[in-house]
């Protein structure tokens, strides 16, 4: 998506907009599922998974913001990498706490 942005200003702008929109809608759907799952289970792992999906949606948000010029290309690039770090961290934490809960249940 980033490389597309760099070559995107002209004709590929439409393709860019479509990709961002589809990514945003799919991400929002997943976030909805993640939140519903959290409200059903109410476990820390599910909260972290829902937050990671939130970061995915935020990524689409940053891309959209840069498309309309609210965010500059540098901030866009940096922002997406920060969100990658956040997402990875949240998933790692979700896995960590899932292990914790099982250890408690086993003892």
């Amino acid at each position: 998506m980033n490389s597309l942005l760099q070559v995107a200003p002209g004709v590929q702008g439409v393709a860019y907009a479509v990709v961002v929109a589809v990514g945003g809608v799919a991400g929002a759907l997943l976030l909805g599922l993640g939140l519903a799952a959290f409200f059903r289970r109410r476990s820390r792992s599910y909260l972290l998974v829902a937050l990671a999906l939130g970061a995915l949606v935020a990524r689409a948000g940053v891309a959209a913001a840069s498309a309309v010029g609210v965010v500059g290309p540098d901030a866009h690039h940096f922002g997406e990498h920060v969100l990658d770090v956040v997402m990875a961290g949240l998933v790692v934490a979700a896995v960590y706490y899932a292990r914790d809960v099982r250890a408690e249940a086993a003892s």
Binding site: A36, A37, A94
Partner: protein, 177 residues
């Protein structure tokens, strides 16, 4: 119990809610709101009055409020509420073939053990499933009343969002395992 007089405009909506609950026993509140396309406040208002008039009954099962025809007895209500969840339903369908070990059921249904255990908690509490332990303490799952269970299952069909949510939690459980 006296019901406060309803205004004319309320009537058709309330009848719609009542008819739907009677035709689809065991749906939970959010599902009713979605299917009937009502505002949550509106649904709550009508359901509360229907409950007060004893035309429907509400039952809290695993943190959700489900609605029923008052003619359905309490044991059946709890069963129907649980069978509205796909994983619980499929695990029970597996056990209709006869008692089985938890690992085998989880494998057949295609869920992680933790997902199965979560649903078993509710099924055991409701007296649908029993955990039998042999001399070495190994657990076998069995239906307490297979015929009643089969009858209840026939009254249920799942909704798409419920199906999606069940599958999502299964996937996450399997990934975190």
């Amino acid at each position: 119990m006296s019901e406060p007089p309803a205004t004319r405009g309320d009537r058709p909506t309330r009848e719609r809610v009542a008819d739907y609950v009677l035709a689809h026993p065991g749906l939970h509140f959010n599902e009713l709101v979605r299917r009937l396309d009502l505002a949550p406040g509106q649904a709550q208002y009508h359901l509360r009055r229907l409950v007060r008039a004893d035309r429907v009954v509400d039952e809290e099962v695993s943190g959700r409020t489900h609605y029923f025809d008052p003619g359905i007895d309490p044991i059946e209500r709890e069963r129907l509420a649980l069978f509205r969840r796909e994983t619980a339903r499929e695990a029970v369908v597996e056990l209709l073939d006869g008692p089985a070990r938890p690992d085998a059921v989880a494998g057949e249904v295609g869920v992680a053990r933790s997902t199965l255990e979560h649903h078993l908690d509710g099924l055991v509490d409701a007296g649908v499933v029993e955990k039998r332990r042999d001399a070495r303490g190994r657990v076998t799952l069995a239906l307490t009343d297979p015929e009643a269970t089969a009858r209840s299952l026939r009254r249920i069909e799942p909704s798409l969002p419920d199906r999606l949510l069940d599958r999502f939690t299964r996937l996450v459980d399997a990934l975190l395992e």
